[in-house]
């Protein structure tokens, strides 16, 4: 286990209030505004001053240079990365001495700015050709790619649409007990099944929200973290493996469901942390679509291959289940911060700040992300 760096501060915007404002036609701010609000809250949470920070990473939705200008920060190290890679890079910067206290700042005005994740202007097509290449046949939207993935997976292992419904139902248990969640009404499996299909076999509740917001984290070198924080949350292990071969034709999604990448990463992070899946108290999964969850349960060894349907229905992934998963409500029901808010939930569970959705005695939380074949994991731990 390495404890070279720890999260000492978290902050986010009020995405519940902003959700209502945006739906009423207002534009509360741009992506830099949301990032700045989150950063201000993270500084307060950490109890430090801005000039104690010497590194800055911003999310992919904002330009690094402009965010640094808005935050009025001159730093000696900086970069731009997604949620999970930001944490990995912050740790690497700290371990190499490039920085000692790193702020990670994300802001996104995707709802009020009308960002499209499918159709003629689908976001991300420049990075992932699969998002746009099959448009002549009507194949667009990342949800449809996951619908295609789920159909092949369900057929191979005999998993039903109702089995998949456990993801949305479990996450609403958490969001109903999370004052920061946008969707707080609990649902049943019958509600899930009664909802309309978007791209069949996926239904409304399998899809993430799209909302505005910002998230910030402050990560500090170990000895500084011990001095500054009463309850540092340690980054105990990280791992990564990418599948890009034949990605445009969907080969890695449809044949192995990204499992080889997750298995590589599982071995890496669990070995480094000196623990196994049984030692994890809370699981947090990047869930742009519910399908991520059963695939991650199998890929990381929480259950056997093809057994996620059984695991979710018999062991349980809700509060009180064998493996509470996405306890905040996740992207499906809390907020769609593209993995960033999941890092906050990891920290809050380990600090014991989760109120009615707190998992008792949570000591280790596993975060997993597999966006477009990039499997990355972090194991967070408390003292």
């Amino acid at each position: 286990m390495r404890r070279s760096a720890a999260v000492i501060g978290i902050g986010h915007s009020d995405w519940v209030a902003d959700w209502h404002r945006v739906r009423a036609g207002e534009r509360p701010g741009d992506c830099y505004h949301y990032g700045a609000v989150a950063f201000r809250n993270a500084l307060k949470d950490a109890g430090i001053k801005r000039d104690q920070i010497d590194g800055l990473i911003v999310g992919p939705t904002t330009a690094y240079e402009r965010m640094a200008e808005v935050l009025h920060m001159d730093v000696r190290w900086g970069d731009q990365a997604d949620a999970v890679l930001s944490v990995l890079q912050a740790v690497q910067a700290i371990e190499t001495g490039a920085a000692e206290v790193v702020a990670l700042v994300y802001g996104n005005d995707q709802r009020s700015a009308g960002t499209q994740y499918g159709g003629p202007q689908a976001m991300g097509g420049d990075l992932f050709l699969s998002y746009v290449y099959h448009a002549p046949w009507g194949m667009t939207s990342q949800g449809a790619l996951y619908a295609m993935t789920f159909r092949a997976y369900a057929e191979r292992y005999g998993i039903s649409e109702r089995d998949l419904g456990h993801v949305a139902v479990a996450q609403r248990q958490g969001s109903a007990r999370n004052p920061n969640a946008i969707q707080r009404k609990e649902i049943t499996l019958d509600d899930y099944m009664a909802a309309r299909y978007i791209t069949e076999p996926l239904r409304l509740f399998d899809y993430c929200l799209i909302n505005d917001g910002g998230v910030a984290l402050i990560i500090a070198e170990a000895s500084i973290a011990r001095k500054l924080a009463e309850n540092p949350v340690w980054i105990e292990a990280t791992g990564r493996f990418d599948l890009n071969r034949a990605a445009t034709s969907l080969e890695p999604r449809l044949t192995d469901f990204y499992r080889p990448a997750q298995q590589h990463v599982a071995q890496e992070v669990f070995n480094r942390a000196g623990i196994g899946p049984k030692d994890i108290d809370v699981f947090q999964v990047y869930d742009s679509f519910s399908v991520h969850v059963p695939l991650a349960l199998e890929g990381y060894g929480y259950c056997g291959v093809g057994e996620a349907g059984k695991f979710m229905s018999e062991q349980g992934i809700g509060l009180g289940g064998a493996l509470p998963t996405n306890t905040s409500g996740g992207h499906l029901s809390e907020t769609y911060m593209q993995g960033w808010a999941h890092q906050i939930e990891c920290v809050r569970q380990l600090r014991g700040e989760c109120g009615d959705r707190q998992v008792a005695n949570a000591r280790r939380v596993h975060y997993s992300s597999d966006v477009a074949g990039k499997a990355v994991s972090i194991i967070y731990g408390s003292d």
Binding site: G119, P120, P136, G138, R151, T199, S249, L254
Partner: protein
Amino acid sequence: MQVDKTPPRIMGLYDAPMWQFLDDDRALRLQCCSDCGTWRYPPGPVCPECLSSASEWKPVSGGGTVISWVMFRKEYLPEYPAPYNVVAVRLDEGPIMISNLVEDPAENVIGRKVTLVVVDMADGVKLPRFKVVE
């Protein structure tokens, strides 16, 4: 399945020949490595197996197997009113092609054999689609 307008095709440096061959003689030709014989789709600069730049555009058999499929119930593209199907076909030559079945499936079609049908879209595009053969 709609036959009116075709949403914009991606036309990178290597994409045009496939569509030109479809226009010329309604045959689906894909790149095949001149050195090791590996088929590739989508088109690209080098063979994914041996990295050779040499390739020939060779006609495929048109046969394949459905490995997954979906039904769009929501409209995303103005050219494609919902509902409509999209399939992933494992071509007999190896690559996966994302396409449509000319008739929406009434039941699960995973594992079904399909054959190529080149459809004339109203805007002139010849679009490679498939039909179930057994």
